[in-house]
């Protein structure tokens, strides 16, 4: 079933119901995983086939929840658009929310465009409670849930999906989706704006799947919103430790949280350190600076002269600077290699220590340049051609 593009869905739905659907389709973000929004498929009509024009009034709504997608049928009546809709909860035939706890249903106002979205959110809350009830089938998982609930960091941002008992093996499975309370606000903007997608809210979600009721098979997975993933250095950032056997979520989740926080700190620190480094070089080499990356502070190019020999030095600062050493690339401005490039030499190991501050690094770099340049010059003369 292909999902309809929002515009297509809106064009086919009955005009009186269009505002309601609009808010679903345009602003519809429910739940923790707000990167994937609500989708609409199977738009059908409840009117006779003789009814002209757009008159669809019933559809299937795909709702991401705890790593699953719920498919709920929503049924309106185009002829009576002021009436509230009816729902079929797909495979969750046992789920029956209490109408009195759905204020947007009891006082349904079809004039309010966000009414449907609010109603869906309320139903999702009820659904969440229903799933938590199902956890009672396993005392172990119930314990996990309760312990997490007590912690205010995690308790309020949790989605549980208690899977259907496998009728053959009697297995019970559950999935916890937790939003990790990691602060991404200090990540430098430059790291985040590179993503092509609409970043939305920066969020890290930890999904832990329990394949059996005794928690012997546990599979954790970390989901980062694309910008964060990029900012932290790609998919390698998603390596988290395995779930310890016999461990429990209340210990594991903070661990993962800490790990992530550390990484973020690293990145933030790296940024500042690089900035410091560049600033120091600027002050040391002054006029020798050709250009530098003023946003991310990842590159620096210097033009230096030693005994009438001019050369360029490109400094590449890695993401995890100062832990990782900057790469120095010496380039002659006179000599070419056989491939037409300027003759250059890359130096990755030179006296360096991450504990030096920017000034110290600049000074040492200068010293190193002086010691290395004669060597380079010889090499340039020997291997390159003018």
């Amino acid at each position: 079933m292909n999902s309809l593009s929002p515009e297509l869905a809106l064009s086919r739905i009955s005009p009186e119901l269009r505002p309601l659907l609009c808010s679903i389709v345009r602003n519809g973000r429910v739940g923790l995983d707000s990167s994937s929004c609500l989708r609409i498929t199977d738009l059908k009509s409840g009117c006779t086939s003789l009814m002209p024009g757009p008159c669809c009034d019933r559809f299937k709504l795909h709702i991401p929840y705890a790593g699953e997608t719920l498919k709920w049928d929503i049924i309106f009546n185009a002829r009576d658009p002021e009436l509230p809709p009816d729902f079929i909860f797909g495979e969750d035939a046992d789920f029956l929310p209490e109408p009195s706890e759905l204020p947007n249903l009891v006082s349904w106002d079809s004039g309010k465009p966000e009414c449907l979205l609010l109603l869906v959110k309320e139903m999702l809350q009820q659904y969440h409670q229903y799933q938590c009830q199902r956890l009672r089938d396993s005392s172990r998982l119930l314990f996990e849930y309760d312990s997490l609930l007590e912690d205010p960091n995690y308790g309020r941002n949790m989605e549980i999906y208690a899977g259907r008992k496998n009728s053959w093996t009697g297995e019970f499975s559950a999935r916890f989706l937790l939003k990790l309370p990691v602060d991404f606000s200090n990540i430098p903007i430059y790291l985040l704006k590179d993503t092509a997608l609409d970043p939305g809210e920066d969020v890290a979600l930890l999904s832990v799947s329990f394949e059996d009721a005794e928690a012997t098979q546990v599979f954790p997975k970390l989901y980062l919103s694309p910008s964060i993933e990029h900012a932290l250095g790609g998919s390698s950032a998603l390596h988290i430790p395995a779930f310890p056997s016999g461990g429990c979520l209340i210990d594991y989740v903070p661990q993962v949280c800490q790990l992530l926080t550390n990484k973020v700190q690293y990145v933030i620190q790296g940024y500042h350190k690089r900035r410091e480094y560049i600033a120091a070089f600027l002050s040391h080499f002054g006029m020798g600076v050709v250009e530098y990356d003023a946003v991310g502070f990842t590159k620096l190019t210097l033009l230096l002269m030693w005994k009438d020999f001019c050369f360029l030095v490109h400094v590449d600062l890695p993401l995890y600077f100062p832990r990782d050493q900057p790469t120095l690339t010496f380039q002659s401005i006179y000599h070419f290699t056989s491939s037409g490039q300027l003759y250059s030499q890359v130096q990755k190991s030179y006296p360096y220590s991450p504990r030096w501050d920017g000034n110290e690094m600049a000074k040492r770099a200068k010293t190193y340049f002086k010691s290395f340049i004669p060597q380079f010059q010889e090499g340039a003369f020997a291997n390159g051609k003018l």
């Binding site: 006779t48 009436l83 729902f87 046992d94």
Partner: protein
Amino acid sequence: MAASISGYTFSSVCYHSANSNSDHEGFLLGEVRQEETLNISDSHIGSSEFLSVIEVHNHEPCAQLFSFYDYAGNINEENLDRILKDRRKNVIGWYRFRRNTQQQMSFREQVIHKQLTNILGIPDLVFLLFSFISTANSSTHALEYVLFRPNRNRYNQRISLSIPNLGNTSQQEYKVSSVPNTSKNYASVIKEHGTEFFDKDGVMKDIRAIFQVYSALQERVQAVCGEVDQSERVREKIQEEVNKLKEEIALRKRNSAEEERRIQEAAAETHPDSSTLPESSHSSLTGVVLSGPSAEPSLERPVNSSSPPIYSTALPPDSPSAILLPRPQAVGSPGHPSPSLGLGNGDGSSSDSLNRQATGQEDHEEDDDDDEDEDSSEYENLVSEQLQPTSLPDAVALGRPATLWPDGDAHSPPGS
């Protein structure tokens, strides 16, 4: 549990539903009955099965949605009563029609169903769901219907709904359903014109008339039985007399034969050479014959139906047909008038015609001392056996019975 809905109710529901431009709902009226089936077989002692049968007789459509419940699904009893009026006790379920949706109870339907169960006090309230699926180009429409029993557990919820006589009635029997006719018009017309067909007890008049005819016939048959009984007794008595007389005749003949023999013996003693060989052989034969009275019938048996020719020496010969005894005629044979409804002439004598015929034939027969022979037309064997001893004087001739017949043909019974 089984369910059935009459064809006209089903089509009426479909009509209302298909003509509505939105979802449609209403109530199902009918009755639930319990059927008990007792199975007796050789393998086990009878087991009884209980089956609940739901019959839908009628339906009450709701004019619009939300007519008896509010947005939260709470039922308003006043509105409910207004829709159902006085038929509330006939409600057995409710139905809903939705186009292009799944065959599953929806959220609101479940909420309403629970409340209806409580308010109407019907533990096994059923829910009939119609869903109407159309293809994209509206060329094919399918009406699907499922009957749910939501108050049972989850895995036992669907009941099959049968529509009697929806099928090929030339091969199946046309089933008459037990749906009562609730039409008031029908009831008033029947009441008005019913007296022509029904008597005061509600039984059809024709039935009474036929019953009377039947009773009359029974009485007559009983009377006839009595008469037959009597006539049989009379006949038996007469038969006894006949037998006695026959014995006397036989005795007389035996005596006369003995006398003759004595006379002959006496004559033979005086003239021994005049006796012919056959005669001596005759005498030896007779001697043989006489010594074994039991042999007499064996000798004479081939003569059975043709014994009268033995009298040919003493009696005037008659036509062969007269000699032969009449065969009993079956009822309905051409020799008899075909039996009408009034068997007999009303006097109970059914054998009249038989007797008449027999007498007719006996007219041809020679008159004997035993004029009672006529009555024993069926008892050919007996007659012939009685007549055997008289043929003794002609025993020599009887040695080769086939040659004795006047026409030379074998003893074939006279064809009728």
